[in-house]
Symmetry: C2
Subunit: 804 residues, 2 copies
């Protein structure tokens, strides 16, 4: 068993995929409703698949270019294997496949959820949540399967039985980074492109449909209505799925890289051995991920309600029960796995503090911190964006004095929400590092991400219910159907906000783990922002998320305008469209959103990928580290700010549906205050659905690109290119007044050894000063200088004393 | 002359103050107009002075508490003199005095400018610009005078003729930091409090006056109109003045601290000597500042127009001529001063690169970079916020589709404006460091700030002209008076935007110079963000500007609401107020703004001051450095974003006054698009006048507090508390199989020496590994370990060979 541990995550992943298949078949077996419902559902599915097809074409070009670049790197750098190329391609394909499966099932499940809602709310929940489960298990199963299979392949290829385990494993993990890069590249297209798509369609549909033509949301007469529903799937299902697929893979990878460093640190005296082929710390994160899949499956059995008259609270409770069950199972399993797979006491190198003993229990505490902080950040997000809580009520109150004060209040809520989130995040860094170094940080992230399947199931169920409502509306089903889907949709809105909190927390911790892996990969002596170039790049990095957000927001504006013109044209040119006798050309609107989204994401995408490469090549590894830190710090801030401001504005607007009390008066939809709140929501939409979530991808991709190009930047961890310098000072002769010293400097660089000798003569004081100056010029650490100078001084004194 | 160089800046500062006095007398001699004008002007002056008086009361409490804290520090820390307390108090008093002078002259000049505008535009420019000049010279003169006098006093007190120059000078500069801290504390009150004041009054006056009562701006029937005009002075005159006073002092101080490090680096072989009492590099920034005052005075003579029918362009050109003249004079003088006062070749320690030779010309290039980047950032700011340029036109176009799209466009403009500004700023760090290390960075900042007197004169003239317009309106003068003051006001709006760009660029460079001084002051080995605690604090620091901005924006909202209620009450309760027969109670509105502003600034002020102290004490010097960097990076981003978005929104709104073409149609005031633009401006107002400019203070004060508490955080640069460790390995005996080694570790910490000896026996390989492990545990640098291990190995081999 122990020897074959690597097969465990493979088996668990396959189990997850089998369960996914069963669920998929079950969903498809459900009644898809009448012809109209099927036709609408089909249109949405076709639109979604059309977007995917267009995305794949663009992706193909991207993957070819990136593969060539990676091939180039593998040829240039000794420690990067050519296997990084297939890993990258398969990473991209697996992520795309997971998105494809999720999108298909989500678009299959919408009409079936609506049909189920005709008779039973519990059944509607079951159908929509099963759809979400398929998505979640697809993502988690394919991620773990892909990572484990490549790992198995690579260890077979690169690991020999020799003493060089650590260096060989570095080659393995560097090739594996290709898989992660492939996955994250798809996330860029899916999350950013999807974010632009969904908001362009939404804003376009609303501006002409609701505002100009005065027809309700999801009205079949609106040509953009299918595009709008497609957008929910493209943005919230495929985008979120690809985002978490990327985080999941990157987190596990980073933990494996840092596990390898634990093995290195423990091999100082004797080579590290354990029963798990001597790679327990590396395998652990993979196994935890596998267990998380099973825990998520168990959790899904607990998501269900019995009462047909249930309200939001019961549905939410059912989801919470499933979620917490899977989290607790994962935590318990992690406890035993950590005890079992890690040595009881490990030696880990703590930066600037040397090697410390770390018990395996400490690693468990780090994992607990990851889970706790993930949950707490989700709660903070929920507080700042939920109906009825103070932040949203503040925005509602400020809507009474107009759009201006509504906007100010919303911006302030978003900004203030960074406070607790960032403190929690800082505490997570501090705490998990305190317990188990950067391996602890990576394990914290891994533990948080372990139940990704469950998180995604909960996240994806929302848009399915939302779409089901759309199908019900467009097919003119009875009101109680819409009422039931609205209950699910409303819960979905809360889970969506919480899911965004989870996504940013996971992205941030992932980025951090990647950042730690980067520093150890490049073998640089930390990232010192007191160096001017590093500091300059920290500022440049801080600016990138701001620019990225601006570009993403503008893209939505441009794409929405194109949509507006198209919808206006159809209203004008298609006879009978407003009377319901003419059929709108839905496909044209889908096409416009698709093209605009993909076109508009190219510039921000290029900035994300090319900037770190340029900085790395022009300035080196340490300034690139500064850049990465700048992107992370600023990106986390802007992600939280934009997500929460957007979520709060949305719910402030929604508050008016049930009516709110402002200055003692009940105020409803249609009031001036409501109009102000609608303006706020217009601003918030691209915040929370486009630019905000894009930050996740930006920070992760930045760190991944850094990690992949790390070997080019010199100073690689395998020490093959490291330079080495030795300074020797010898006191040749002294008398009362004069001294002579010989300073020999031996430099070893890329295998070549250069030796220089300098003889210094003069008074004792002069020799002392000159030796010191020579040392300084050779950029020796100040401590060393002092040590040597003092030694020199002592030697001279001793010799003088002897003479006397 | 050379020996008495310290007296040069003192003389130049006094010359500046004398010229200021002459200008002040001249302004006061001008005709202040009819009785009504004088009465209005008097009300504004009284309101402004009432704010100052209230501010002083709060300040007094603050200064007492801070003085006690500083006294405590001076008792705890050997290297901090008790003289930091008087330096702090006088710094606060001088800054307050400069603000007081500026505010008095500005409120004297407004009616006189209006009176002059009756007959002549050139004369109106002369009066208003003279008012600005008084402000500028007051700030610059008092700053240089205060710094130089204290420096003179402290060197007399602390510098002996002994060898301990560097440590003694450190004590001098640490005490001098008190002056800077005092100045910046006032800036906190003036800039943040003033920012809240001005917007509360403005929004309050507009909401009830313009919107509810439908009376025009500056209408004497509006009770808040005096408060509104007071606000212009409180925020734009006193606030900006205190901000630049703080930057100016802090920059010169940081350059002096770094000059002392140059002297230290040059004293390795032989003590540094020059003709300027061995302190040329320290005196240089003070002398450049003094020269800048004279250059500014010369520049002011060139600001004037002759043509009574001149337009904005001519006025702008006159200001530009004066500004560039003073910059060029300063640059030329700096060239000669640098050549004269610095050694031709200096040795400077470059972090991580050891000691390098730097020619004095390099320092001049750094100064050029500072001036160039200051000018370029101002140009970028101007581009993003000016009427008729693409960014503002974009916002105008987006106003057509409503407030939502206007807001999105404005946010995007603000965000995009960070791109070039941050790249320029990064280039400034990189370039000035490249030429002359951190001394170069500080000199770049000093050069940029040298013409502060001129910058402030140009800045302060705007609000004076604005107020003159208000006086003209309220006194119902003829239309051509308002037209003339409007020309000046319009130019003032441009200079205000450019001035904000200058203020943030200077604050950022100042913070950077302080940051460099901090690292050298604490004697830490750089700031390594690969340490988890440093990284965690980098995130916390990044969050502070966001929270600060949120608090500042909310404060404006709260204070404005109080104002609204008061104005409504007066409209309701004072008989005949709307008919112009009843007199509004202006003073009550002034009082409300004053109290609200001061109350609301306490929380953000406390956060600014207490957070770095807490972090320093709890986590130590290096995490505090991470925090400072986080505040700087994030603060610069949010400052540029908020200032430029606010400026662009403002001018987008103003564009409608002359009419703009949207989709082929001319659109004017009162249109829906204009209403959307007004909403944008409402959001932009606190951005550009409260939270945006507050960032300057936040980042500078954070770094200053860090600098002042640096000595408490241990590891001080005088090495009095440094720990030292030495490891010695001796090979006692070896034979074919076995070896014995004795490892002696000697630690010196706070004067105590502890010695430990360990004997290692075993096979040759075992001894080698154990020695290595022992070294590792003692947290020796990896290089050392390798060095020692290799040495050990070699010794063992040699002994073995000898035996054979």
């Amino acid at each position: 068993m122990k020897q074959n541990m690597i097969y465990v995550p493979i088996v668990l992943a396959i189990l997850g995929l089998i369960f996914m298949y069963i669920k998929m078949v079950w969903v498809k077996k459900q009644d898809a409703g009448n012809e109209k419902m099927q036709s609408i559902s089909k249109s949405i599915k076709e639109g979604a698949l059309a977007f995917l097809a267009a995305e794949y074409r663009l992706l193909l070009i991207f993957v070819i270019i990136a593969s060539l670049a990676l091939f180039g790197i593998s040829q240039l750098v000794e420690t990067t294997s050519i296997m990084i190329v297939p890993a990258f391609i398969i990473g991209a394909i697996f992520s795309a496949l997971a998105g494809n499966i999720g999108m298909r099932i989500a678009t299959d499940a919408n009409a079936r959820t609506a049909e189920a809602a005709k008779t039973s709310l519990p059944q509607a929940l079951k159908v929509s949540f099963s759809g979400g489960t398929v998505m979640g298990l697809g993502v988690a199963g394919l991620a773990v399967l892909g990572l484990s299979l490549f790992f198995l392949l690579f260890i077979g290829q690169f690991i020999t039985d020799g003493e060089n385990f650590y260096n060989e494993m570095t080659v393995v993990l560097e090739a594996l980074a290709g898989f992660s890069l492939g996955a994250e590249s798809i996330a860029l297209f899916a999350r950013v492109g999807g974010g632009i798509y969904t908001k362009a369609a939404d804003v376009g549909a609303d501006l002409v449909g609701k505002v100009e033509a005065g027809i309700p949301e999801d009205d079949p007469r609106n040509p953009a209505t299918i595009a709008d529903n497609v957008g929910d799937n493209v943005g919230d299902v495929a985008g979120m799925g690809a985002d978490l697929f990327g985080s999941y893979v990157a987190t596990v990878l980073a933990a494996m890289v840092l596990g390898n460093y634990v093995i290195r640190d423990m091999s100082i005296n004797t080579p590290f051995t354990d029963d798990f082929n001597n790679m327990g710390p590396i395998l652990l994160p993979l196994v935890i991920a596998g267990i998380g899949i099973i825990a998520s499956i168990i959790g899904t059995f607990l998501v269900g309600i019995k009462d047909n008259t249930a309200k939001e609270a019961q549905v939410q409770k059912a989801l919470d029960t499933g979620n917490w069950t899977s989290i607790i199972i994962t935590l318990a399993a992690s406890f035993f796995l950590i005890k079992w797979m890690l040595p009881e006491t490990m030696q880990m190198s703590f930066f600037g503090e040397g090697i410390k003993d770390v018990s395996s229990m400490n690693v468990f505490w780090s994992a607990c911190i990851g889970l706790a902080v993930g949950a707490l950040i989700s709660m903070v997000t929920s507080y700042y964006t939920s109906l009825g809580k103070k932040p949203v009520l503040d925005i509602v109150q400020n809507s009474a004095t107009g759009a201006g004060t509504n906007i100010i209040a919303g911006l302030a809520v978003g900004m203030k929400s960074t406070f607790l989130s960032v403190l929690l995040f800082a505490a997570a860094i501090y705490g998990s590092y305190y317990f188990a170094g950067f391996y602890g940080v990576a394990l914290a992230a891994s533990a948080m991400m372990a139940t990704t399947a469950m998180q995604l199931a909960i996240d994806a169920f929302g848009p399915i219910a939302d779409n089901a409502g759309g199908v019900a509306e467009m097919s003119e089903l009875e009101d109680h159907v819409r009422e039931r889907t609205d209950i699910l949709d409303s819960v979905g809105n809360t889970t969506a906000a919480v899911g965004k909190g989870f996504a940013i927390a996971s992205a941030a911790l992932t980025a951090l783990a990647l950042f730690a892996a980067y520093v150890t990969f490049t073998g640089i002596d930390g990232i010192n922002i007191f160096k001017a170039d590093v500091l300059a790049m920290l500022f440049v990095g801080g600016m990138i998320p701001v620019i990225f957000s601006a570009l993403a927001m503008q893209s939505v504006g441009k794409a929405a305008m194109e949509m507006v013109h198209e919808v206006r044209r159809q209203f004008r040119e298609i006879p009978g469209i407003m009377e319901g006798t003419g059929t709108p050309e839905y496909a044209k609107c889908v096409d416009i959103s698709t093209k605009a989204a993909l076109k508009e994401m190219i510039l921000p995408g290029l900035i994300t990928i090319i900037t770190p490469i340029l900085i790395g090549l022009l300035f080196g590894a340490e300034p690139l580290g500064g850049y990465m830190a700048g992107v992370c710090v600023s990106g986390v801030m802007w992600a939280i700010f934009q997500n929460n401001a957007g979520g709060a504005w949305d719910n402030a607007k929604k508050s008016f549906e049930a009516g709110v009390e402002i200055n003692g008066e009940m105020t409803y939809k249609g009031s001036d205050a409501h109009k102000a709140a609608v303006t706020g929501d217009t601003v918030g939409d691209p915040f929370k659905d486009t630019s905000g979530p894009s930050m996740n991808i930006l920070i992760k991709l930045t760190c991944l690109v850094g990690l992949v190009i790390a070997p080019i930047l010199g100073g690689h961890s395998t020490h093959t290119k490291e330079s080495h310098k030795e300074v020797k000072v010898e006191i040749k002769s002294t008398d009362d007044e004069k001294a002579t010293a010989v300073v020999t400097t031996t430099k070893t660089e890329n295998g070549e050894t250069i030796s220089e000798t300098e003889t210094i003569e003069g008074t004792v004081e002069e020799v002392k000063q000159k030796v010191k100056a020579t040392m300084d010029k050779d950029t020796i650490k100040e401590e060393d200088v002092k040590k040597i100078v003092e030694q020199t001084e002592k030697n001279i004194k001793e010799k003088l004393e002897k003479k006397e």
